[in-house]
C-alpha cells in the first residue's frame, strides 16, 4: 500500500508538536512548583543564569525558538575569534569536511580502482586496510598534531583518514565485480585500457563507488564535531563545546538541530549524484 506523502507529513508534524508541547509543559510546571534555591555563593560563581533560583537550566522549546531566530537573523557575523555567527562556524566545519573528504576521494578512488583490477595488490594491502579501518579517527589526532603542528589541518587530516576507508573498499569491490561480459566486449573491440577504465569499468562501478562516498561523508560529518571539540578554534564542534562552557543549553540544542540538517543535506546531495549515475539492467 502506498501511503500518501501529505498524510505521513501531517502525522510527522503532529508528532513533533506533541513532543515539543510535552517538553514545554513539563518544564513550565516544574518551574511553577519552584526548583531548588541555589546557594548564593555558587550563584555568584556561575553567573546570572544559574542564580535565578527556581529556573531550570534546561531550556523550553519556546526559548530555543527565540534563540534560534536570534542566531539565524545574523548567522555570518564575526566579532573576534570567540564570537562568530553559527553560519560561519558551520562553514568552517563544511570546509574541513569538504577538503578532507575531497582529498580522501582523490586517493581512495584511484587506489580502489587499482585494488579492484589487481587481486594481488588487493591481497597485499588487505592486512593494512583491515587493521587501520576500525581505528577511531580521533586516535590519529595526537600524531597529526605532532607532525603537522597545525590544529586546523590536523582536523582535516582526521576527516581524510576516516573518509578514506568506505570509499576505498567500495571502489575496490565495485571495480572488482564488473561483469566479465562487459570486459569481454571491450576486449573484443580492442578498446585500450584507459578507454575501458573510463567508459566501461568506471560507469559500471559508479553506483557502488557513490554508496561508499555516501557512507564516507556521513562518517566525516560525525567525526568533524568531535575533532573540533578536541582542537578548538572554529567550527560547529568547537561552538558546541563553547556553549557548553557557557552553560547555554539552548545553543546546544540548536547546534544538534543544525548538525542534523546539514548532515541530511550532504547525504541528499550525494544521493542525488548517485541517482544520476545509477543504471538499471
Amino acid at each position: 500500500m502506498l501511503i500518501p506523502f501529505w498524510r505521513s507529513s501531517l502525522l510527522s508534524l503532529a508528532l513533533l508538536i506533541l513532543f515539543l508541547g510535552a517538553w514545554e509543559l513539563a518544564l513550565r510546571s516544574s518551574a511553577a512548583t519552584g526548583g531548588s534555591v541555589v546557594d548564593a555563593e555558587y550563584a555568584a560563581l556561575v553567573g546570572a543564569a544559574a542564580a535565578q533560583g527556581g529556573q531550570t537550566p534546561m531550556p523550553m522549546p519556546s526559548e530555543i525558538a527565540a534563540r534560534l531566530w536570534q542566531l539565524l537573523r545574523d548567522p555570518f557575523y564575526v566579532r573576534g575569534t570567540n564570537d562568530q555567527g553559527i553560519g560561519v562556524q558551520i562553514a568552517y566545519s563544511l570546509a574541513r569536511v569538504g577538503i578532507g573528504f575531497g582529498l580522501a576521494a582523490l586517493v581512495a578512488i584511484p587506489l580502489g580502482f587499482a585494488i579492484g583490477m589487481s587481486p594481488l595488490l588487493g591481497a597485499v594491502l588487505n592486512p593494512f586496510i583491515q587493521v587501520l579501518r576500525p581505528v577511531s579517527p580521533l586516535a590519529w589526532m595526537p600524531l597529526a598534531l605532532y607532525t603537522i603542528k597545525d590544529s586546523s589541518i590536523s582536523s582535516v587530516f582526521v576527516i581524510f583518514i576516516c573518509s578514506i576507508w568506505p570509499m576505498l573498499l567500495n571502489t575496490a569491490f565495485g571495480v572488482g565485480s564488473v561483469r566479465r561480459e562487459w570486459l569481454n566486449v571491450a576486449r573484443t573491440l580492442e578498446a585500450g585500457s584507459l578507454k575501458t577504465a573510463w567508459r566501461v569499468i568506471l560507469p559500471a562501478a559508479a553506483p557502488t563507488i557513490l554508496t561508499g562516498m555516501r557512507i564516507s561523508i556521513g562518517i566525516a560529518w560525525l567525526v568533524i564535531v568531535a575533532a573540533e571539540m578536541l582542537v578548538g578554534g572554529t567550527g560547529i564542534g568547537y561552538w558546541v563545546w563553547n556553549q557548553w562552557n557557557n552553560l547555554s543549553l539552548a545553543d546546544i540544542v540548536i547546534a544538534i538541530l543544525m548538525i542534523g540538517l546539514v548532515g541530511l543535506l550532504l547525504d541528499r546531495l550525494l544521493g542525488w549524484v548517485a541517482g544520476a549515475v545509477a543504471w538499471q539492467e
Partner: protein, 277 residues
Amino acid sequence: MNHAYVSVEGIARRYPGATIFEDLWFGVNRGEFVCLVGHSGCGKTTVLNILAGLEKPSDGEVIVDGQAIEGPSLDRAVIFQGHALMPWMTAEQNVAFALSCRHKDMPRAQLRDAAREALERVGLTAAADKKPSQLSGGMKQRVGIARAFAIAPKMLLMDEPFSALDALTRGALQDEVARLVSEADQTAFMITHDVDEAILLADRILLMTNGPDARLAEVVVNTLPRPRMRATLHKLPGYHALREHILDFLITRSRLMAQGLPADWNPRHAPEVRPGA
C-alpha cells in the same frame, strides 16, 4: 585447408584431471557460414572464445589470415549469448562506443550518425535513445547485432545469440542475420543447439561428440539452395534428410561416438557428409 580464412589447428582445452575437448581441426573459408552444433558440456563456448581471442587453448593454435591469434581483435566481432550491452549507455551510445574503437579519430557527430545508420539497418531507429533496460530481449539482441556489424569485422562470431529469446523473436532475428550476412558476404561462425537454425544459416555444420573428451565427429555440408527463408525452409529438397541426419547424430551418435570413434576417423579431416544432396 591452407587457403581457409580461419584455420583451427589441433586446439584442446584441458583442466587438471579433465579434458573438455582436444585435437580439434577445422577451417572457415572467406564468405562461409559455419555452425558448430553439440550438446552442453562439449566446450562449444570455449571454442568460440578461443576464436575470439578471449581464451587461450591448452594446446594447438588458431591461424587467421595466415597469422596465429594473439588476442581479441576488431576483425572478429562477437555477438554474445546475453546481449552484453552496457546498461548505462543508450542503444545508440552502445553502437557508437564500438564505432569509436574502430575509428579512433572519428568526430562525435559522425559517430552518432554512423551508429544511427547501423541501428536503422536492424530496424531500431525509434529505439536509438533508449537504454537497454527499456528494450525487449529481442530488441537488445538487435542492438548487439547492430554493434557487431557496425565495425565491419572480417569475421562474425556468434555464441548461441538467440537462445534466450522466445520462438517468434528468434525466428525474426534469424532471418535478419541471414539477410545481413548475405548482404555483407560476411564470414561467420556460430554456435547453436537449434538444428533448424543451423540448417537455415550454415554452409557447413560441424558436429561435436559429447564431452568430456569431445571431438569433431563429422562435417555436414548444407546443400540446400539459397536464399533460404524460415517459412519455406522445410519445403526445400533435401531438408528432411539433412535434419534427420543431424537429429540422429544429436540423439544417439553423439553419445556413441564419445565412447569410441571409428577406426578410420582422422582428427585432421573429419568425414564430410552431404545428407541433403
